[in-house]
Symmetry: C2
Subunit: 462 residues, 2 copies
């Protein structure tokens, strides 16, 4: 009888309890935003990473300095432990400033093109190479031409990123095969060098680098990106006449090098075996400060820890902050982390990566093992009501990040911070991705978004 | 019997019909985006307005040139009629470059401050004025000091925009009384000049102008905005010592001047008496190109017409595009338009103003007469499903725009395009609000958002 009386009574209380919980969570998230927007460390830390450390290509002195800085910085943050997790990274060097120019055009004579070598490009030798240019829009188009027409030529991939995609990442996804696999395909057909239209929706003079893959590095040919304006010029010229281009790169592959992920951990007070990871990648390309890609993600992840400290939140679950090494050309850091974690039978209940630039956040994309995805997403979607006042929603799709996606077998929910994407490819892998390109408030709002999600994950689990 | 059979049959068809409608609308909106993102006129028109016409303060030669350009441009757009709607605008001139400096500081000696006169500032006379600075955080604080303590002094309003507001417009709303009414209040208490901390959340060297109001213009004292960094410096200095500041402005009120709204109209094919207005304001301040404020809004509004033309959509309802004059310091254009329209007993079923910068759009804020608001908003909210793929929602609050809000008595639904607000006050009323500050895709997405909403309003009415 007692039970029968109690149950309706408890049911009556339930809405009050839920309401009180929501209130408390809303209040805490408001506090988190207040800290990030007024006392956050994201912007100043990014300033240091960009202006004091600078470019951080895997294997470079800059990357080593960044690891040292990261470890020293982490050690000021009150982690229970901070460590460097070793990984062997590829080590490619750009060499001399690239020379790429139209030569012997009847229209233009000789004209320099705005160009940068792709990461993984081969060397032309000191003398450089020259050849007639053939323009194609796709790898398939090149293959259909066959080796006879490609041998000795310079292949020019010129399919633009689709401006009709509202998400610039979708547009990037639809064009980037030209950069990643195009040069190797051209090499196999006998081309002497490759030009790739820069991966950006802008029409300007800025060339955008990024990784290109040759299975046999010793056979790599020169592969450069040229600016979109120069791509338009070259294409227009090719409609009028045959064009020869000269390319000089002195890129070089060096032996793999020992490098590190920087890891900091706060042990969970109640559920130490349930890990929540926040991270970004520490490496960048060599030709910029890696401000949006991905200094922003690193400092936002660290700001989560700073905010928890400032608000005196001792996490119930283990909170780990990771600055991954070598996302750009190999993901050696991500692989080492996942291998090590899987071997220890760890359980990441969630991981959040920020690697889409420090722009105003719109929410989080997600992924998980299909056996748990529905359940996880249902739980996470309940937090939309707490996040929507800040312009955030949890998206039931879209993936996470290159460094955390390998944790999927641990059956947690993986998130990618999703900022506004319109300006990302104005800077991506280009010489202008520097500190000045990042807006302080936009960066801080991203950090606060991550802290808010971590707060909910820590409190309610997954 | 026939009827009874027919009804269930029709009901069965209804979902198909609705589905087909949604499909058709989704397809049309996709087409609209394609046009704006690839063939839109917004960016090039803004380039002309900024780089060829330049600053467009009411009553200035720049404003007159902008009206001429607007009329000529409208006449190429296939409107049924284009006209200039007269309005008498206030005519304030800045005069010489402002001089504002700390003088006779023990710490700093003499130091120039980054400053611009507020629109409506009085003149100091050629010799300038100097006085001891008193810092206050609010008008009330100043009033509580009383005339005895203010007389002969220079009042320094230094309450920052609240960085905790996620919407920077809310932060602006909470601080801007210092700029609009602060100088007149100081004048009434006997101050000889006023300094106002610039209205921005950034900490930098850029001063931000904007309107200040003196009921009796002949009594206006010098009123200048100083950069936020200089505000911090001055405040810190005042904690250590008394500080004198020198201010020289040669601003001048001239007689009101005849100016114009630029109006273009396409008569509705089915409901010519139902008007849908799209607009922005053509005037800007004199110290910049008025790119975000509000060249962006003008060119986005015109892009709606361009998109309709390109897609061969003949509107069923009358479509009017208006470039309003004098939003910044008097709204003479908005008043003239509303008066004229009300006198003609017109019915604007909807009006959309874009006046919050050319940033990535998030949706539309709304307002309407309270007797119709609920019904209107319910109808408009049904379009969320069509707009959400583009990151847009209709907000049941938030107002419309300064130039269209006066149309409320006509019982339509009034909209304000709502872009991301984080960067708006980096540029607002400041010398850096120039063409380069506008991102092409962000601008175009705003234009496409407006066209999509106009398409739905035109098809379904309000």
């Amino acid at each position: 009888m007692k039970k029968i009386i109690l149950l309706p009574f408890l049911l009556l209380l339930l809405p009050c309890y839920i309401f009180a919980q929501d209130d408390e969570d809303a209040f805490k998230i408001r506090e988190i935003y207040d800290i990030s927007l007024t006392k956050g460390l994201a912007y100043n830390t990014l300033d240091h990473l960009c202006n004091k450390v600078g470019g951080r290509l895997s294997g470079s002195p800059g990357a080593a300095a960044a690891v040292d800085y990261g470890k020293a910085k982490f050690e000021t943050m009150g982690f229970d432990s901070v460590w460097l997790q070793p990984c062997m990274v590829p080590h490619w060097e750009r060499g001399d400033k690239e020379i790429v120019k139209i030569v012997a055009s009847n229209m233009l004579g000789t004209q320099a093109l705005n160009a940068v070598a792709l990461g993984g490009s081969g060397s032309s030798g000191k003398l450089g190479v020259a050849g007639e240019v053939i323009e194609v829009k796709s790898l398939d188009e090149l293959k259909s031409l066959g080796a006879a027409k490609v041998r000795g030529k310079i292949v020019f991939y010129n399919r633009p990123m689709d401006p009709l995609q509202v998400s610039t990442f979708s547009a990037y996804g639809g064009a980037v095969d030209q950069r990643v696999y195009g040069p190797a395909t051209a090499m196999e057909l006998g081309a002497v060098a490759t030009l790739v239209r820069s991966m950006t929706t802008r029409l300007d003079d800025v060339p955008h680098s990024g990784v290109t893959v040759f299975e046999d590095k010793s056979k790599a040919i020169p592969a450069v990106a040229i600016s979109t304006k120069d791509a338009e010029l070259l294409s227009a010229l090719l409609e009028k006449e045959a064009v020869r281009v000269y390319v000089r790169t002195t890129c070089e592959w060096m032996p793999d090098k020992l490098s590190y992920n920087v890891v900091g951990e706060i042990k969970g007070s109640s559920f130490p075996d349930e890990i929540i990871l926040v991270g970004g990648h520490l490496d960048s390309w060599d030709l910029n400060q890696g401000a949006h890609d991905d200094g922003a993600g690193c400092v936002q992840a660290l700001d989560v820890v700073h905010t928890f400290n400032t608000l005196d939140i001792r996490p119930q679950r283990t909170l780990r902050c990771v600055w991954f090494m070598n996302e750009e050309n190999g993901q050696a850091g991500a692989k080492a982390y996942a291998k090590w974690s899987n071997e220890k039978d760890e359980k990441h209940i969630a991981a959040i990566e920020s690697d889409r630039g420090g722009f105003t956040p719109r929410g989080f994309t997600t992924e998980a093992h299909e056996s748990v995805y529905k359940t996880h997403i249902k739980k996470a979607k309940e937090w939309d009501k707490l996040l929507s006042p800040y312009g955030l929603t949890i998206k039931p799709s879209g993936g996470s990040g290159a460094d955390v996606t390998r944790l999927k077998p641990q059956m947690g929910l993986l998130f990618g911070l999703q900022p506004d994407s319109q300006r990302y490819f104005d800077y991506h892998h280009a010489p202008n991705d520097n500190f000045e390109a990042v807006n302080k408030r936009e960066l801080e709002l991203g950090a606060a978004a991550m802290s808010s999600l971590v707060y909910l994950l820590d409190k309610y689990g997954m």
